[in-house]
Symmetry: C2
Subunit: 340 residues, 2 copies
Amino acid sequence: MGRKPATLKDVAALANVSRATAARALNNYGYVGDETAQKVQAAAEKLGYRGNRLAQALRNGQLPIVGCILGDIQNPFFARIAHDIEVVARQSGYNLVIGSSEEELDQEMSLLASLQALSIRGFIVAPTSADKNVHLQGLITDNIPLVLIDRVAKGIECDSVVVDNEGGAHKAVRYLIGMGHRRIGLLQDDMRIFTSRERMSGYRAALAAGNISLDERLVAVSQSTVEHAVDATIRLFSQKTPPTALFTVDSLMTQGALLAFRSMGISIPHHVSLIGFDDFNLATFTDPQITVVSQPVSEIGRAAAQLLFDRLSGKSHPLRKIRFETKLIIRGSVSHCSAA
Amino acid sequence: MGRKPATLKDVAALANVSRATAARALNNYGYVGDETAQKVQAAAEKLGYRGNRLAQALRNGQLPIVGCILGDIQNPFFARIAHDIEVVARQSGYNLVIGSSEEELDQEMSLLASLQALSIRGFIVAPTSADKNVHLQGLITDNIPLVLIDRVAKGIECDSVVVDNEGGAHKAVRYLIGMGHRRIGLLQDDMRIFTSRERMSGYRAALAAGNISLDERLVAVSQSTVEHAVDATIRLFSQKTPPTALFTVDSLMTQGALLAFRSMGISIPHHVSLIGFDDFNLATFTDPQITVVSQPVSEIGRAAAQLLFDRLSGKSHPLRKIRFETKLIIRGSVSHCSAA
DNA sequence: AATGTGTGTGAGATCGATCTCACACAGTCT
DNA sequence: AGACTGTGTGAGATCGATCTCACACACATT
């Protein structure tokens, strides 16, 4: 059939009024006679009229869509955040466009540009790079609401929601040191990424506090996927004198480490102790259960969305930078270091 | 500063030509003098001109966005699919709007309506209900490209990508029967959902083929979250004569079952055998590793996106209904039934 | 009677890109 | 010379909703 959706003109025609009057009746503003208003309502009803958001957006310069650029939707951490943002967005009558930067700066930039070309005003971004951020700076100077999530970027003054990465990492490593470990490995993500830097610095600080000097050979850089983490773990533990404990900076990498240990016949916690940053569903299914630094994942997306919609609704708050605390959840993957 | 993005008019003014000529130069169509074209290009460059997609969309009736309505992005199955769709979309210059129906028909319908109001033409939907689908029928009659994914809907004639749910479930249950099990539990999702029905029917068929009559008390209905599945499993196994084996219809529910068994002190595979539909990352981390029916997850999203973009590009294919096979991956969570 | 205020309505401009149409000029053909 | 084709350009309409403005009428105030 291909019947076109009804336009305001159609409604106006059916109600025998002008477009202007129809618009007034439907959006109730200005003066409209009661009787006229009823006629218009009836006509709209009958035609199943739904305003064309595109046309509305063209006039007022803004689409009821928020853009969300995350590292990777497949990471349960980001999936949860995306879900929570969508819930809040829906309540405000917004839809959510999701883009995955795949931790590539180029992709992040082109994604952002294409969303801006859509007149989307309102972004939640987990920036790939802590330094290179002209594109984000552009949003700020254009006065487009932006909330940074999970990561902040140097020199970008805007609302943000992060967790205490450094503190979390510090707690984990301090705990390992307390259990007698001195050769503590770090499986980390690309150093361009803010969280990776912060967790690294927590690791360093804890080592320093324990009078342990940093051994570069115990630090492996991977990407945040199970597969990459498996390889990196195997490299790390194929050395002559491997670490006695490992700290992994995100849950996918923790899972990769688990897989690697299994394939290498390394048993937790007897041969190696393990702590991962970010809790995950199956951390309690494994034997032993995995000790982790947990973040309040369920709060992050909601908080970020709240900040964004507060901005979008025009309230002019001062900048708000939310930082959540992390919690060390002790389970069974860490034991006292036997090999001194 | 708030500098507005440059418009075609600005470019035209800078190049000293009319808007029409500028448009011709930038989109190269019609006649344009070489020299004029260069001037326009230069002006566009200088102003950093990017066409306003909204205005373009208003004219040609279609936004470069595809809508994607899935059950739940937090389910790794859907997260993977969303990711793959986004990759294909990006290649075609499209962005992806993701909506989560949360398995509520109302939400699915209102989400769809709001995306249609945005002039989005092109949807990938995992319909909540196998029966109620006027909204989908509406897309069809309006000739809006639609691809159903993971699930089909009665009477909706369009491209689709599903897996052989019935066959997969049949394989799993037949295997359990072959191992001597006769009291085989089913932990399933809401019966409105297509996959749930099909997997149920595979379960029935396999029982029938094994001359086992269906015992309603062995069938638990849950929702597709870890939490709900835990409860349902506990109920199922708190009966006087609980099942000796369990078949779960998706990976979150499999994880829920695992958690429930752990909390009840039920050991796999000694006390109970387990097979889950849909493989998951940690299925090989647990001890024992979990036997599953795997679907080619990495193919599904890509295939669906391909079908959609073929339609969007105007080629008029006949309907294409893709059905992928499933594979029974035997690991260690099933043992011979000791209790006859 | 003149002026003012509150109410109700429509014509037309606007947002930005695109497309149709008309027009103008060069060169070619009868 | 007159008619025609090919090339190049601009004015204006269009998509749909909204908003400004002008106008019109009713009633109240001086």
